[in-house]
C-alpha cells in the first residue's frame, strides 16, 4: 500500500470523505474513486454501477466496487441524475486501478444543486483528512 506522500491526487478535483472524486465537465459532473481508494482495495475485479436515468441524492449508494476479498459501496458526492456510466468497466474493471481519474471514471451526473460541488474538499483538505485516519 502507498504512503500518503506517494498518492496521486490531482489539484483540480473535488474530494469526498469516502474517497470519491468529482470534476465539473461542462454542465455535468464526472465521478470516480481516487488513488487512495483504488490502492486500498487492491486489484479490482468488478464494478457495479447504476442505470442511466437513476436519480440519487448526495450520500446515496450508487454502486459497489469489489476486489477478490472485499466489497465497498460507492457514495454520491453530489446529488443528481445519472446521465452516463462507463461501460468499459464491465469488461475491464482494472481501469479503476490503472487510471482512476481518466479511463477509470465511473458516472456522469447532471447535478440538482451545483452548490454541493463546492462543499466537497479540496486536495489539501482531503490530504489533511487522510493523515488523520
Amino acid at each position: 500500500m502507498k504512503e500518503i506522500n506517494q498518492l496521486n491526487l490531482p489539484d483540480n478535483l473535488h474530494y469526498a470523505e469516502d474517497h470519491e472524486w468529482a470534476q465539473k465537465d461542462g454542465e455535468n459532473i464526472r465521478v470516480g474513486i481516487d488513488d487512495y481508494a483504488q490502492d486500498q482495495l487492491g486489484d479490482i475485479v468488478f464494478v457495479e454501477l447504476p442505470q442511466t436515468g437513476d436519480k440519487l441524492a448526495k450520500g446515496d449508494v450508487f454502486g459497489t466496487v469489489e476486489s477478490v476479498k472485499a466489497v465497498s459501496e460507492l457514495f454520491m458526492p453530489i446529488g443528481g441524475e445519472v446521465i452516463a456510466i462507463n461501460k468499459n468497466l464491465e469488461e475491464s474493471p482494472e481501469l479503476v486501478n490503472t487510471s482512476p481519474y481518466a479511463d477509470g471514471w465511473m458516472i456522469d451526473v447532471k447535478p440538482t444543486n451545483a452548490a454541493e460541488l463546492e462543499s466537497l474538499m479540496t486536495k489539501e483538505a482531503y490530504l489533511e483528512m487522510l493523515k488523520g485516519l
Binding site: 468488478f46 476479498k69 472485499a70 466489497v71
Partner: protein
C-alpha cells in the same frame, strides 16, 4: 480412548506450561453460575464392538431390499452405485478435508467440484452450475429467492405438481419476508395448467417440476414462453436427474434457472439425507447465484489450477447483503455425483435412463392389463400414479404384509387422489419382481 491421545504425563507437562494445577482450573474464567452441566445423563461409552452390535440392531429394524420390495420414489430413488465409485469416495483426503479456502493444498476437491459443475451444467442445460446446496427443496427455495432478487418483484407462481414437500419448504422460506406464492393447478392429464399465469402481474418467476411429482413430463418450453411473456423467469426443477439422460434438458427448453435433487446420482437414499441440491442458470445471472463457485485459473508459475471465486456474493464477505447465508454445502455429495456421472459416461447415462423408463412402462402396462388404471395419461419417466379401485387401504396393507411397499399413498398430499398411489420403478427392479407385484395386487 483411542481418539484422545493425551497420556497423564502429557497432560501434566502441558498443565505446567499453562500454569494451572488441573484440567478443571482451565475453566476458572467461566463464572460459577454458568457451569452446571457436570453430570450429563447419557449412556456410558460403548466399545467399538458394542457399538457395532447396537447399530446392527437398529439397522435391522428397517424395511429395505432384499427383504422388502420398495416401489417408492417421490424425491428419493433407488439406483445401483458401483463399488469403484464408493471406493474412491472413501479416500480420507476427500472425506476429511475442509472447504478449499487454501487452494494450494486443496486442488483435489477444487478440480473435482469444477468437474461436477461442468457435468451438472451439461445435464441441466445451463451455462453455469453452483458447487451444490443442501437438497432439492432448499435449492428450489434459493432459486426462487434469486429470481426475486433479479427481477425486483415479489410474486412467484408455483405448480401444484412440484413435490409437496419442496413446496412446503418454499413456504417456510417465504413466510417472514411475506413473498406472494400463487399455486398453479394441474389438468386432467397430470400436467400443470399454465393459463393462470396469463392472469398474474408482477411475477418474478414461474416454477415447474419435470418430471413432476406424478412422474409426468411437463411442457417446459410452453412454461418458458408464458413466463417470459410476463417478464418472469422460468425456474425448472427436478427430483430425478436421471430423466435427463433421455429427455431434453430444461436449459435447452429455455429455463432461466434449473434446480433439483441430485440424490439419484450415486448417493444412497440414507433415510432422506444428505442429498444434493443442484442449481444452475444462465451466465448473465452468475452474480446473483447463491452458493460456492469454483473457477479455473493459473498459478504464479503458469500451472493450471482451481480456486473458489466470485466469493463477494457470499456471507463471509457480503454478510447481511449476501446472496444467501450458505456456508457448508454438500461438497462430498457433489463429488459423488461427478464420480457417478463419470462412471456411467454419456453413453451409459443414456442407456440407464432408457432402461428406467422402459421398466416403469412395463409395470404400467402390466397393471393396465390387470385392470388398474393410471389416472394421468401423459408420458412419464420412472414414476407414475395408479388408482386402486375399491378399498385402497385394504390392498396397500395386504401388499405390505407380503413385504411389498406399493408406492406412496397420495391421500396425505392430494386428498382428491386418496385412492391412488405413486409407484416408482428403477433399474433395480427385475421383471420377476414386477410380475410378482401385479400378481399380488390382483389376488
Amino acid at each position: 480412548m483411542r481418539y484422545l491421545p493425551h497420556t497423564k504425563e502429557d497432560v501434566d507437562a502441558m498443565l505446567a506450561t499453562v500454569g494451572v494445577g488441573n484440567l478443571d482450573d482451565l475453566f476458572a474464567t467461566i463464572p460459577k453460575d454458568c457451569c452446571c452441566r457436570l453430570d450429563m445423563d447419557l449412556p456410558e461409552a460403548k466399545t467399538e464392538w458394542e457399538l457395532n452390535d447396537h447399530m446392527d440392531n437398529l439397522a435391522a429394524h428397517m424395511a429395505v431390499t432384499p427383504e422388502y420390495k420398495v416401489y417408492l420414489g417421490a424425491g428419493s430413488y433407488d439406483h445401483f452405485v458401483p463399488a469403484a465409485a464408493r471406493y474412491v469416495l472413501s479416500r480420507g483426503e476427500f472425506v476429511t478435508s475442509y472447504t478449499p479456502y487454501q487452494p494450494e493444498i486443496s486442488q483435489g476437491t477444487l478440480q473435482a467440484i469444477y468437474e461436477y459443475q461442468t457435468l451438472a451444467s451439461r445435464l441441466m442445460g445451463t451455462e453455469v452450475a453452483t458447487a451444490s446446496h443442501y437438497d432439492g427443496s432448499t435449492a428450489l427455495a434459493e432459486a426462487l429467492l434469486m429470481a426475486i432478487r433479479i427481477t425486483g418483484k415479489k410474486r412467484v407462481a408455483l405448480s401444484a405438481t412440484v413435490h409437496p414437500l419442496h413446496r412446503r419448504v418454499v413456504r417456510t422460506y417465504f413466510d417472514p419476508p411475506g413473498y406472494d406464492l400463487i399455486e398453479l393447478p394441474y389438468l386432467a392429464d397430470g400436467r400443470t395448467d399454465f393459463d393462470v399465469i396469463d392472469t398474474l402481474d408482477d411475477l418474478a418467476a414461474v416454477a415447474v417440476q419435470s418430471p413432476n411429482f406424478f412422474g409426468c413430463i411437463e411442457d417446459l418450453k410452453s412454461a418458458a414462453n408464458r413466463a417470459h411473456a410476463k417478464d418472469a423467469l422460468l425456474v425448472a426443477s427436478f427430483t430425478e436427474p436421471l430423466a435427463y439422460g433421455l429427455l431434453k434438458s430444461p436449459g435447452s427448453l429455455d429455463a432461466d434457472v434449473v434446480c433439483g435433487e441430485g440424490q439419484s446420482l450415486g448417493l444412497p437414499r440414507s433415510f432422506g439425507g444428505p442429498g444434493l441440491g443442484m442449481l444452475g442458470s444462465r451466465m448473465k445471472f452468475v452474480r446473483s447465484l447463491p452458493g460456492r463457485l469454483v473457477g479455473r485459473t493459473k498459478d504464479i508459475d503458469g500451472r493450471n489450477g482451481f480456486v473458489l471465486t466470485l466469493a463477494t456474493r457470499e456471507q463471509h464477505i457480503r454478510r447481511e447483503k449476501a446472496t444467501s447465508n450458505i456456508c457448508t454445502n454438500n461438497s462430498l455429495c457433489a463429488t459423488t455425483a461427478a464420480v457417478y456421472m463419470a462412471s456411467l459416461g454419456g453413453t451409459g447415462f443414456r442407456e440407464l435412463s432408457q432402461l428406467n423408463h422402459d421398466k416403469a412402462e412395463y409395470l404400467k402396462g402390466q397393471l393396465a392389463q390387470a385392470g388398474f388404471s393410471a389416472p394421468f395419461t401423459g408420458p412419464t419417466f420412472n414414476e407414475f400414479v395408479i388408482r386402486f379401485p375399491d378399498d385402497f387401504d385394504d390392498i396397500y396393507h395386504r401388499l405390505l404384509n407380503k413385504k411389498i411397499i406399493a408406492g406412496l399413498p397420495l391421500a396425505k398430499y392430494y386428498p382428491e387422489l386418496s385412492d391412488c398411489t405413486l409407484l416408482c420403478v428403477t433399474e433395480t427392479a427385475t421383471r420377476e419382481d414386477m410380475d410378482d407385484l401385479v400378481k399380488e395386487v390382483q389376488s
